[in-house]
């Protein structure tokens, strides 16, 4: 049993469990599933500085920060107890493409350490991918009023058309960045 759980979980197992998070949060606490609002709560709690957007009672949203804390703990438990230690399977085309950019270290399981690492923080390539990338995620998600969880899963589940528009734009931005921008950035 443990050995099965340690293998990567297929989409038809993970998809339903993620989808069930929506009714689960509604029923256990009358909460709408969403992760990126926690970014706003962190700002409101730490550095509100009189900015309107951060002036609200963030303490009422503490459940969201605890949910996020739980997610971090979940990641920790997965790596400690459910890790198979095997190298990740990567699509041949992606592997070849990455090798062309000099990314050859695939040992670090889920993320290429040639891309996301502390050392990369001091290279132009790293700055664009992890600094600007992170910045865009935070800026974009709050501008759009939600992220993959709040819009693509919660919003569409509630049949809200703004969430469908947002999701289409998420994918569009991703296609452009992955296919047009990343080849340039990775060759830097």
């Amino acid at each position: 049993m443990l050995q099965i759980l340690q293998q990567p979980w297929p989409w038809y197992i993970a998809g339903p469990l993620i989808g069930l998070t929506v009714p689960a949060l509604l029923i256990i606490g009358n909460k709408n599933f969403g992760i990126s609002s926690s970014l706003r709560h962190v700002c409101a709690a730490c550095i509100p500085a009189g900015i309107d957007y951060f002036k609200y009672e963030w303490k009422k949203e503490i459940w969201n920060l605890l949910f996020v804390l739980g997610i971090i703990i979940g990641g920790f438990l997965a790596t400690v107890y459910l890790s198979s230690g095997e190298e990740i399977i990567i699509h041949e085309n992606l592997r070849t493409e990455l090798k062309g950019y000099g990314i050859t270290d695939f040992s670090n399981a889920l993320i290429p350490s040639d891309v996301v690492s502390w050392n990369q923080l001091f290279t132009l390539k790293g700055m664009l991918m992890i600094v600007l990338g992170g910045f865009f995620v935070g800026f974009g998600t709050r501008y759009a009023g939600g992220c993959t969880s709040g819009h693509s899963i919660m919003g569409i589940s509630a049949l809200s058309w703004p969430s469908l528009v947002a999701t289409i734009c998420f994918m569009l931005g991703g296609f452009i960045a992955a296919n047009l921008l990343l080849p340039i950035i990775l060759s830097l």
């Binding site: 706003r40 939600g146 569009l172």
Partner: protein, 137 residues
């Protein structure tokens, strides 16, 4: 103590995200290059289950754990904010290979460099808060 259920929900969600490799940089790049069905399968099935769950709640007026009617917060009816904000988010998603959920799972997973991405996501959120009134919504 009343918050422990949210902590537990988060733990389950985090484990699922990690074990399905939805937190992997490679899975995100494969998705945006149409090289794998995996992420589309996860998001697609999640949405179907979510739709059914919300539909059942509305149809049978299911109440929350405390017996209160369940409240949905509708998203603003606007186009520019989804078009501009959404596209910026998508670009960041592909550049960093992570959206907010996977960022935090990765930190728990021991991939601490992802904290850089998360930290700049907070900076991005902060700047949005500063500029909000000057942006088209």
């Amino acid at each position: 103590m009343k918050f422990i259920k949210f902590l537990i929900a988060g733990i389950i969600f985090g484990i699922v995200m990690a074990k399905s490799e939805a937190i992997s940089w490679y899975r995100i790049q494969e998705m945006f290059r149409f090289q794998a069905f995996h992420m589309y399968g996860i998001i697609g099935v999640a949405v179907v289950l979510g739709v059914i769950g919300v539909w059942l709640i509305k149809k049978y007026n299911i109440r929350d754990y405390h017996g209160n009617p369940i409240v949905f917060y509708p998203k603003d009816k606007s186009i520019p904010r989804y078009l501009i904000g959404g596209t910026i988010f998508g670009v960041g998603w592909a550049l960093s290979g992570a959206c907010p959920g996977p960022m935090v799972v990765n930190i728990g997973y021991g991939f601490f460099a992802m904290a850089i991405v998360f930290l700049f996501a907070i900076v991005g959120t902060y700047l949005y808060g500063v500029l909000k009134n000057y942006l088209p919504h």
